[in-house]
């Protein structure tokens, strides 16, 4: 089950610098980029959450990563 876009985990993972070593490489690299983009333009957060959620939706291996956000 993939959390909806309003779930606080999405915002938390994109606005913190938490270590995600236990997640897949793709998730780590993507989130690192999205964090940089959100830091540079906080108003873009909703769009970046959408991008991250789309990635999780398309990749079954990433669903388990959400529990580590």
């Amino acid at each position: 089950m993939i959390p909806d876009a309003n779930d606080p985990r999405w915002k938390r993972v994109l606005t913190s610098d938490s270590d995600l070593s236990a997640t897949s490489l793709a998730t780590r690299i993507l989130i690192a980029r999205l964090r940089r983009e959100v830091a540079a333009a906080p108003g873009a957060l909703a769009g970046k959450i959408g991008e991250l959620r789309d990635f999780v939706t398309k990749n079954s291996f990433a669903v388990a990563d959400v529990a580590k956000f």
């Binding site: 938490s18 270590d19 236990a22 780590r28 690299i29 964090r35 940089r36 990635f55 398309k58």
Partner: protein
């Protein structure tokens, strides 16, 4: 998945039998291969079961027995953002790009933003030549659908897998970030070269800073991507021009630290790999081969081509990329 060192005739026989393969070797060998479900790239440096070596008379071949199909594909520079359009659902994609090409530069800088790039494992490397041939011969990629070699663009192999198969793509970085949080580097602009860096919060000419502080340029700058350590290696320092060149682009706004010095590279790889590596796809960096003096030495149980850049979704440096496929339950 099986890694083997094969003659041209042996590899050709395998291709003609319909095998899904990625191959690495000298251009003259790759150019002799028949059409089929494969891509190839040039290098003459390898780590085999006997250790690091220069090999010109045979090919390093990885055969994906797990594959249920594969589509080799060539994309030119303009087509790079459409890499994911060929993704086979549930599969993975292998990629090779020639060093020093426009595609190399574009993928390095923009690849992370290509639509859907992260939607399946994307693994591969930057092709090279013997170091004595740099500037004399161009690194090449070969695409099995035509058998033709290219010195620009990207060779892709979109591989299909049975339902339930799982691909684990990861990196083995033997470098750790320097311990001192007070020694940090960042760059105002992204790119393969930098004149200005911010060191410990102070803007400096980076070439002059490196020279004055005597930084060991064999050690990479290391960024922490949410737990993934990503290296940027220093290619050259030109004090006169005030410019430092890198083997992969620095990213604006990312904090880098200089890697800690290493003892034995081979030992570090062996420790990092543990008992893993056998039957996995891997490639490793020419800088590790050179600086770590890996000729004749093994890197744990990992074997594969030595490359001018590694790709695990993005361009990497001084890193071992590894990929494993688990069969469906």
């Amino acid at each position: 998945m099986k890694n083997e060192v094969l003659s041209v005739a042996e590899a050709a026989k395998r291709i003609e039998a319909g095998a899904v393969m990625v191959l690495a070797g000298d251009e003259a060998l790759l150019a002799q291969l028949p059409r089929g479900k494969w891509i190839g790239g040039t290098t003459v440096y390898f780590v085999t079961e006997d250790g690091g070596t220069v090999m010109r008379d045979k090919l390093f071949c990885t055969t994906f027995a797990e594959a249920t199909g594969a589509v080799p594909r060539y994309v030119d520079v303009a087509g790079l953002p459409e890499i994911s359009k060929g993704y086979t659902p549930g599969g993975f994609t292998m990629i090779m790009i020639p060093a020093f090409s426009v595609a190399h530069s574009n993928f390095a800088v923009e690849g992370q933003t290509y639509p859907g790039l992260f939607d399946q494992p994307l693994s591969g490397w930057i092709t090279g030549v013997h170091l004595d041939d740099i500037g004399k011969r161009a690194p090449k990629i070969f695409v099995g659908s035509t058998g033709i070699g290219h010195d620009e663009g990207a060779a892709l192999l979109h591989v299909a897998l049975p339902e339930g198969a799982h691909v684990d793509l990861d990196i083995l970085n033997i470098f750790a970030r320097g311990d001192s949080a007070a020694l940090t580097f960042s760059f105002p602009e992204a790119g393969f070269a930098a004149k200005t860096a911010v060191v410990n919060g102070e803007e400096v000419n980076f070439a002059r800073y490196i020279t004055e502080t005597g930084i060991d340029t064999r050690l990479p700058l290391v960024a922490n991507y949410a737990g993934a350590l990503v290296n940027v290696s220093i290619q050259s320092v030109d004090v006169e021009a005030g410019e430092v060149k890198f083997y992969a682009p620095v990213v604006a706004g990312v904090e880098y630290r200089l890697a800690n010095a290493l003892g034995s590279y081979a030992q570090a790889f062996a420790q990092g790999a543990g008992e893993t590596g056998e039957g996995q796809y891997s490639c490793n960096c020419i800088l590790n081969y050179l600086y770590g003096e890996l000729e004749g030495q093994r890197t744990g149980k990992f074997t594969g081509p030595i490359t001018f850049g590694e790709i695990a979704y993005i361009l990497l440096n001084q890193t071992l990329v590894k990929m494993d496929i688990s069969n469906a339950a």
